[in-house]
């Protein structure tokens, strides 16, 4: 490495230098002679050409950092080799699953005034946008129908492309946006879609489908009189699990549960907490308010 410190044309006899630098030659005289030569070289450089000297240092650091960058890249490359492209090594941090809702603009307060369409159109647009992938014809075209009530386990090579089960928009019934393209926002009975976070290989409920319930988070319970759940009483069917990762499970669409808030106190902020219920689901951790549950506020103006 050291002789690379000197610009090529200044090192006339690399082999000779090698001997000196590597220090295998026990001949001290020669080594001293060499070090003198190096010394002279360096002095010549410093005195006659300060820029060359600065260049020498820059060159040294260039080489050092290139070496480090190379070694780092090599290590990262090695690291990537040990990883499977299909399944992460560990999944203990991402499970149990978290929960998210749609529409999602920013934050978890869904506030609109029925009489002013401009206040709810963004929500409706967000829902439509999100549900595009669930259009019945797209689902029918890309995904297969699966037997309900059991996990859709696909054996075979890990690298084999996995089939995904159909989740049609129409299954959301009143919240599908087909009959009512405003998802009930225009009538003050908004739909909210609830989605469980995807985790590779995770089988929620251990055989029993996970269900959803919603309640007032705190305050007057009469503010939330009725909620309708679609599909199937607000459960995530087992056939949508397990998830095999985005590389092989290309067309996978997360199953959804639509919450249809048909009777919510108007003109007030109503904090609602929806929880997943099922075996293996954790929904009461103080630090993580999105783990197995979600809290949002409805504020519907009339």
């Amino acid at each position: 490495m050291l002789f690379a410190l000197f610009p090529g044309h200044l090192v006339p006899d690399v082999e000779q230098l090698m001997v000196g630098f590597v220090g295998m030659d026990r001949d001290r005289d020669r080594a001293i002679f060499l070090s003198v030569e190096v010394e002279v070289l360096a002095t010549v450089l410093t005195t006659t050409c300060p820029l060359c000297f600065a260049g020498l240092i820059l060159l040294f650091y260039l080489i050092l950092y290139m070496f480090l960058a190379g070694m780092f890249s090599f290590c990262i490359y090695g690291l990537l080799l040990t990883l499977s492209p299909y399944t992460p090594t560990y999944r203990d941090r991402v499970s149990p699953p978290g929960v998210m809702i749609r529409p999602y603009l920013h934050g978890f307060t869904i506030a609109f005034n029925v009489s002013e369409p401009s206040t709810w159109t963004p929500y409706v647009n967000s829902m439509h946008h999100f549900l595009q992938a669930y259009d019945d014809n797209i689902q029918e075209e890309k995904n297969i129908e699966c037997p309900a009530g059991q996990y859709f386990v696909q054996d075979g090579a890990e690298s084999k492309e996995k089939k995904a089960c159909q989740f049609k928009r129409s299954q959301l019934q009143n919240c599908s946006g087909i009959e009512d393209p405003t998802f009930g926002y225009s009538t003050g009975q908004p739909c909210i879609l609830l989605k469980m976070n995807r985790i590779i290989g995770y089988r929620p409920g251990y055989g029993t489908p996970v269900s959803v319930n919603c309640a007032i988070q705190k305050g007057n319970e009469s503010a939330l009189k009725s909620v309708d759940f679609y599909p199937g009483n607000g459960t995530f069917d087992l056939m949508y699990y397990p998830y095999y990762g985005k590389l092989t499970h290309v067309n996978y669409t997360s199953p959804l549960v639509a919450l249809h808030f048909t009777d919510v106190k108007k003109n007030d902020f109503v904090p609602i907490q929806c929880r997943l219920n099922g075996e293996g689901i954790v929904n009461n951790v103080t630090n993580d308010r999105f783990l197995g549950r979600i809290i949002f506020t409805l504020s519907i103006g009339m």
Binding site: V38, L79, P88, Y243
Partner: protein, 969 residues
């Protein structure tokens, strides 16, 4: 005397008769100084920024606002705690001194209201009449009105080692010279056991108005300059603070121009500051210095000011006293001359026998004279004390002779009893001899023995014969010349020579009952028989020549400054090696070449002996010329005031000057010197107060061991700082990459503090225990301005080489943790904004899994922990490479410094506790880490070690080369 009422009045007017202690800084100021010194300001700024960020965020309703509040509090706590620690350390070393200055309150016998009264010396006032007896300390400046056999020891004031007699006669206009004034804090001596000196005098000055008081205030007027290590640490703080501020500001600007919010940019700035400041380092330096101070105290160097530990190490000139420091401070018989031959006596500290040839009859005669013609006596009750340590009543020469005789003959007092003394003429300065007449112990020999000693030429004048091999022979010309040669030779050695002669008085002329009368001298005092010469010197301490040669090889110039005669000074200087055997002074060359002194080329003379009188007439340029041109210098017959001039001269040569001193008059020089060394035994309180260091055994050799320790700590502090600075880059890089590449934050600010103040503290102190790499006493003292504690090479090597290496290793661990959880490196780039979005709870990772915010945060903490663990692991390697700067680890050995191992184990233990023990405490941001992540950075740790071994190999192989110049710190 005064009346009590009048005395009280004057006391109220003049104040108590005590020296005002030097003004000390109030404790609270000292404390506050610790709070704002060093890096504290930078950390206060960090804390303040934290609170500002907290204020803004709380107003915006950001959930994580309290993190900033806590961080601010933690930073403030760090400053306050390290401040308290530094304050405590300083207070502790000051306390050592406080015990020194405590003195037993002195009493004085004063005549008030016509009665003798004992009052505390503090209450003396001008006009009081005081009585003093032998052994007392003089309680104030007094004018004597009655004195009897009173001698005072003025050595602490004027440097004269001979006691001065005092009488009530006015003899000189200069108050310092006149005999009728005795000075505050000097001691009245017991002139002889038979005649205790007494004196009565009137107080003329009290307290700060006394001569001593004036000198003391002069000393406090001499400015206290910054110690070299303080300058070095300041320099280092400037470098680090400069780096911190410039990187901070640079990245603040970068962040703002990258469209980050100003508030976020401020938070980045805090992170950069915290990462850059080695919070624990100043405390570590203090601990290292105090460890060395403790080690030095064991070697009899008591350091008052911690920083002086290192100052001693950078010393390039030592101005040493002669008496007591280089020498044993007691006269000892060094040579004898009898039978026409010079014999050497043993002058070591622990002599128990003398080995020269004692078979001659002449020696028997000589020893009898030495024993009998001597008034000194051992104080009773010291039978079990070694002879050399016994206390003697009598003057220095007589003491030397008494001890010499006791060593050889034993029971001198018994011999004297058996040879009863009949008459005696004590020594006086007019006749310059001492004589006594004794009965002999041989009952058959009825003759009386007359013994005489004195100045050799005077003794010889009175002799007509000389004893050779026990036979009296006529003192012819030839014999007289032999005597002259011997006398000159011994005198040339700087020794005090005494001649001895005797005469057996014929029985018929002096019968049993002969009435000897010393006034009429009715006995012969001429035509005596010359027996021999004895010469005495205050011999060098046996350890000193070795110490001086050590100094010489360490490139330290030793200058002797003494009040003694030039010849004696030169002789001692030669015997301890301050003037080496083959060096010549200008005078020597002149004598050898037989040319006048003026014609000698001054450059030829290595040595110089400068007389105080010459020094007085010298200009500063002339003094500088001497200090530059001569490497071996002795200043003789100097007054303590001239010491200050010499010190200033040395400092003009850019030298770090150590000065030894014991007298009050030395205190300005002690203060002026870069390091003042007071004598623990002989030193006065004023000297001890002015000094930075106290030499408990008064031994010059102890200074040299101190120098060694001081040099070692400088080297080791370099290692400590290099060790500490390295990981700052590994702490800083995460922030920079976080800002530039927008990856999740690799290491948190709190975690950084756990490295700086947790895992790294014990290892960096452990480096203070490192043994020297080579003989540090074989190199030149460091140059104040060129050999910096933190030089460019150290900073560059730590920051840009090992530091970067460490960062790379830690980043590998970081990426590994994220990748194995599903976040591949390419996904992480640019992820920061969504990653930190509190509302975004279903971010997809590289595998399509969705993460909540808290799940991500927890992973981020795992990343912190992995980064932390990797830095810790690589710091172990860093610690091992910092053991040496030049030698291979194999040369230094891994086991010689066991404290290093304590450091390594503590480091790993603390990391384990933080990771697994406190992993569940969310506020600390640690998580229990999978075991394998501890080993991810291991290859980089090994690379650090191998790289450094290669660096050291090239440094050793090619000294002076480009590599050596750029890589050796």
């Amino acid at each position: 005397g005064l009346t009590s009422a009048r005395a009280a009045e004057i006391l109220a007017r003049d104040g108590p008769n005590a020296l005002t202690p030097p003004k000390s800084t109030p404790e609270i100021i000292k404390f506050l100084k610790q709070m704002v010194g060093g890096f504290s300001i930078l950390l206060w700024v960090g804390a303040l920024l934290c609170w500002i960020a907290f204020g803004i965020q709380i107003a915006q309703g950001v959930a994580s606002a309290f993190d900033n509040l806590y961080l601010g509090v933690v930073l403030a706590l760090v400053v306050i705690l390290t401040g308290i620690f530094a304050y405590y350390q300083e207070a502790k070393s000051t306390n050592i001194m406080a015990s020194f200055s405590k003195m037993i309150p002195q009493q004085a016998l004063v005549i008030r209201d016509g009665e003798k009264k004992e009052v505390p010396a503090e209450q003396l006032v001008v006009g009081d009449m005081v009585e003093i007896k032998g052994g007392d300390r003089i309680p104030a400046d007094i004018r004597l009105i009655f004195a009897q056999g009173c001698k005072v020891d003025n050595s602490s004031l004027t440097g004269e080692s001979e006691p001065q007699s005092r009488s009530c006669d006015f003899t000189h206009e200069n108050p310092l010279e006149t005999k009728n004034i005795a000075f505050y804090s000097t001691t009245c001596l017991e002139a002889s056991p038979f005649l205790p000196g007494t004196a009565t005098g009137m107080v003329i000055n009290t307290g700060d108005h006394t001569i001593i008081g004036r000198i003391a205030s002069l000393a406090s007027g001499v400015g206290n300059e910054k110690t070299p290590i303080a300058i070095e640490i300041e320099h280092f703080v400037h470098i680090v603070a400069g780096v911190a501020v410039s990187i901070g500001v640079l990245f603040f600007i970068i962040a703002v121009s990258m469209k980050y919010k100003v508030l976020d940019s401020i938070i980045f700035l805090i992170g950069i500051i915290v990462a850059n400041v080695p919070e624990g380092l100043l405390a570590t330096v203090t601990v290292s210095l105090s460890l060395t101070a403790k080690r030095m105290a064991k070697k009899n160097c008591l350091v008052k000011n911690l920083e002086a530990v290192e100052t001693l190490g950078s010393t390039s000139i030592i101005c040493s006293d002669k008496t007591g420091t280089l020498t044993q401070n007691r006269m000892t018989v060094a040579h004898l001359w009898f039978d026409d031959q010079i014999y050497s006596a043993d002058t070591s500290e622990e002599q128990t026998t003398q080995s020269f040839d004692q078979s001659s009859q002449s020696w028997a005669a000589l020893s009898k004279i030495v024993t009998l013609c001597n008034r000194a006596e051992f104080k009773p009750g010291q039978e079990n004390v070694p002879i050399m340590k016994r206390v003697v009543v009598g003057d220095a020469s007589e003491t030397a002779l008494l001890k010499f005789a006791e060593v050889i003959l034993g029971d001198v007092m018994g011999i004297r009893k058996r040879n009863r003394k009949l008459a005696e003429i004590p020594f006086n300065s007019t006749n310059k001899f001492q004589l006594s007449i004794h009965e002999t112990e041989d009952p058959n020999d009825k003759r009386f023995l007359l013994v005489m000693k004195g100045a050799p030429e005077r003794i010889l004048e009175r002799c007509s014969t000389i004893m050779i091999n026990g036979e009296e022979q006529p003192l012819d010309r030839e014999r007289a010349e032999a005597f002259q040669t011997a006398y000159m030779e011994l005198g040339g050695l700087g020794e005090r020579v005494l001649g001895f002669c005797h005469l057996y008085l014929p029985e018929d002329e002096f019968p049993d009952t002969y009435p000897f009368d010393t006034d009429s001298m009715n006995f012969p005092t001429s035509n005596l028989c010359f027996v021999g010469l004895l010469s005495m010197i205050d011999p060098p301490r046996s350890t000193v020549p070795d110490a001086v040669s050590k100094c010489r090889s360490a490139g330290i110039k030793v200058i002797m400054v003494t009040g003694d005669h030039p010849i004696t000074a030169k002789a001692i200087a030669k015997s301890v090696g301050i003037i080496s055997a083959n060096s010549e002074t200008v005078e020597d060359i002149a004598k050898r070449l037989n040319i006048p002194v003026e014609q000698v080329n001054k450059q030829d003379a290595r040595a110089a002996v400068i007389n105080g009188m010459e020094l007085k007439d010298m200009t500063t340029e002339q003094l500088d010329e001497i200090l530059i041109n001569h490497s071996e210098i002795v200043f003789a017959r100097t007054s303590p005031q001239q010491k200050l001039i010499i010190v200033e001269g040395c400092q003009r040569q850019d030298a770090v000057v150590a000065v030894t001193g014991d007298g009050v008059n030395d205190s300005p020089a002690l203060k002026k010197a870069d390091i003042g060394i007071a004598m623990g035994i002989a030193g006065s309180d004023a000297a001890k107060n002015a000094a930075d260091m106290i030499l408990l055994d008064d031994n010059f050799a102890s200074i040299v061991t101190g120098v060694e320790e001081g040099r070692l700590i400088f080297d080791n502090l370099k290692k400590t700082i290099a060790y500490t600075l390295t990981k700052n880059i590994a702490e800083l890089c995460p922030f920079l990459i976080y800002i530039i590449a927008s990856i999740p934050l690799p290491i948190g600010t709190i975690t950084i503090l756990f490295i700086d103040l947790g895992t790294d503290i014990i290892p960096s102190v452990a480096l203070a225990y490192e043994k020297a790499e080579s003989d540090i006493m074989n190199r030149r003292p460091r140059h104040k301005k060129k050999d910096r504690l933190v030089n460019e090479q150290l900073a560059v090597y730590s920051y840009l080489q090992i530091g970067i290496l460490q960062s790379v290793g830690a980043f590998l661990a970081y990426f590994t943790v994220y990748a194995e959880q599903g976040w591949l490196p390419n996904t992480l780039l640019g992820l920061r904004v969504s990653w930190e979005d509190d509302y975004y709870n279903d971010i997809e990772d590289s595998y399509g899994q969705e993460w909540t915010r808290y799940q991500r945060t927890y992973l981020q903490w795992s990343g912190y922990t992995a980064f932390f663990v990797s830095i810790t692991i690589q710091q172990v390697a860093d610690l091992i490479i910092r053991k040496t700067r030049r030698n291979s680890l194999f040369q230094q050995g891994l086991l010689r410094n066991k404290v290093i191992w304590v450091g390594i184990f503590s480091q790993i233990a603390i990391a384990l506790i933080l990771c697994y023990g406190l992993g569940s405490v969310t506020a600390l941001n640690f998580t229990p880490l999978r075991v394998q992540y501890w080993f991810v950075a291991m290859p980089y740790a090994i690379l650090i070690w191998v790289y450094d071994e290669i660096r050291k190999l090239f440094i050793r192989q090619y000294p002076g080369s480009w590599w050596d110049k750029n890589m050796y710190y």
